[in-house]
């Protein structure tokens, strides 16, 4: 999908689908879900998620910017910002 057409909502959906694989079926995930406290994602799982996002959206996510991220929506926003920066 061209970078300019990818919306934050699309990225949120992608992130939720990646996290959902490791949670009980039916667990509700949305942009307000806190990745570190509302899921059982540890640092290794977060890094794997970051790699998946980088591949899917052709961006490089600075590790120093990840320290500020808690929620799925924040992560999606960061990916969108990076996409626009490199477009």
């Amino acid at each position: 999908m061209p970078k300019t057409e990818t919306t934050e909502e699309t990225i949120v959906t992608f992130i939720c689908s990646q996290i959902a694989n490791s949670l009980p079926q039916g667990t509700e995930l949305n942009s307000e879900t806190d990745i570190t406290t509302d899921t059982d994602f540890d640092s290794v799982a977060v890094m794997d998620l970051v790699f998946e996002l980088e591949t899917e959206y052709d961006v490089s996510i600075p590790l120093n910017e990840l320290t500020e991220i808690r929620k799925i929506g924040e992560l999606a926003g960061l990916v969108k910002k990076l996409q626009m920066t490199t477009a």
Partner: protein, 398 residues
């Protein structure tokens, strides 16, 4: 008042479980008597040490011990100062010359530990407008050094030059870029594809930094590490290293041909604000570094021993990783299995390291073994018998 340590409760539960399951704290093993580089008394039992980083077995080198004793008698037990204050003795400066000469480089800087070398160098050298690309399985010291810098820090997939290139391509061509990798990675013992990485780094005008902590004394005809073994020493701009493995003591360094390397002495906080190495350590490090350079038989014996253990474990059916090196990270299926195996081996008189997430790649549980030139064949065969019994115990449930 909030519970200051409450944030660590999950980690503490994991640790408490490990202690309960092993009858002792695997993170606080007490070496009661140290007999040799490869044997010690632990929990009242004589054990073979198969989990040190003592690759060349030089911790009991006679010349090194003599040098350390003489240096202590002559210069005292410590410098009590940093390298920029009263902590630079002639020994420190001579050792820097020796390290530089060992690597065939113009300059070297000695730090108090390898961790401090990495943290100090990376945090100082990488600035606000710079990009640092590190292997995703980099040692904590590299991550920590990068975190302390003001650069933009990116990771690339472990040992993946294609992924590295993808990321370099995304960066502004005019930006200053540093690529960091390791000679031998500390958990599973795999090597970086340094030839490919150096080609890509050069193509994109980036600096290449290699941490040769586990490859000094181990790889290369002269023991200079992976860059030497791969024939790419000229393409590596900075080598970081440590004395706490093959050199058999403690200390860290950075070597380079860069004419401005000495500037690091003015800006690296781990250099400026930490006491320097005691004279005894400088003297023993110098002695063993000399031996590493001159005694090729150490490396030959290390690799003969590596063949025995790696091949033996592999033939027993253990998941030992694809690349044969003196570090062998055996993958266990679960924390419970890892704890059982570690404790069982210790009861059989074999000490290995236990490594669990988040210290391990891909969330794996590892029994980390490391081979030494100091091992003899009888010790290695005893270790293999223990691993064989362990396998039998797990298969039969006894």
């Amino acid at each position: 008042m909030n519970d200051l340590f409450g944030k660590f409760s999950d980690l503490k539960k994991l640790h408490d479980m490990a202690v309960m399951n092993t009858g002792g704290d695997p993170l606080a093993v007490r070496i009661e008597v140290s007999y040799s580089p490869t044997t010690a008394k632990i929990r009242g039992r004589d054990c073979i040490l198969l989990g040190t980083n003592n690759y060349l077995g030089l911790t009991f080198d006679e010349a090194a011990i003599e040098a350390a004793c003489e240096a202590t008698r002559e210069y005292g037990t410590g410098t009590t100062g940093s390298r920029v204050a009263n902590g630079s003795y002639e020994g420190h400066q001579d050792l820097e010359l020796q390290i530089a000469e060992f690597y065939g480089r113009k300059k070297a800087i000695l730090f108090t530990t390898g961790y401090q070398a990495n943290v100090g160098f990376m945090s100082a050298i990488a600035g606000r407008d710079d990009y640092v690309l590190i292997d995703s399985e980099s040692h904590a010291s590299i991550y920590d050094g990068c975190r302390l810098s003001s650069a933009t820090i990116l990771h690339f997939r472990h040992n993946d030059p294609v992924d590295l290139e993808k990321r370099l391509r995304r960066l502004p061509p005019e930006a200053c870029k540093l690529v960091v990798t390791e000679g031998i990675f500390s958990m599973r013992g795999d090597q970086a594809p340094l030839k490919e990485i150096s080609q890509i780094t050069k193509q994109y005008g980036a600096y290449l930094i290699v941490d040769e902590a586990h490859s000094l004394g181990v790889l290369g005809e002269n023991g200079r590490g992976l860059a030497e073994a791969e024939g790419v020493e000229d393409d590596v701009d900075f080598i970081l290293g440590t004395f706490s493995k093959s050199v058999g003591t403690i200390g860290g360094f950075c070597v380079s041909n860069h004419t401005e390397l000495d500037t690091v002495r003015l800006v690296a906080r781990a250099y400026l604000f930490s006491a320097s190495l005691p004279p005894s350590i400088v003297a023993s490090g110098s002695a063993t570094l000399k031996r590493i350079k001159n005694d090729i038989t150490l490396r030959q014996k290390l690799w003969r021993n590596t063949d025995i253990i790696y091949d033996g474990l592999r033939d027993l059916g253990y998941n030992v990783g694809v690349q044969k090196n003196p570090i062998i990270g055996i993958v266990m299926q679960s924390l419970e299995e890892c704890l059982f195996a570690w404790n069982s081996l210790l009861e059989k008189g074999i000490y290995v390291n236990m490594a669990v997430p988040p210290a391990t790649p891909n969330g794996t549980y590892l029994l980390r073994c490391s081979v030494s030139a100091g091992h003899d064949v009888e010790q290695l065969n005893k270790a293999l018998r223990a691993f064989s019994e362990l396998r039998e115990e797990r298969l039969t449930g006894t």
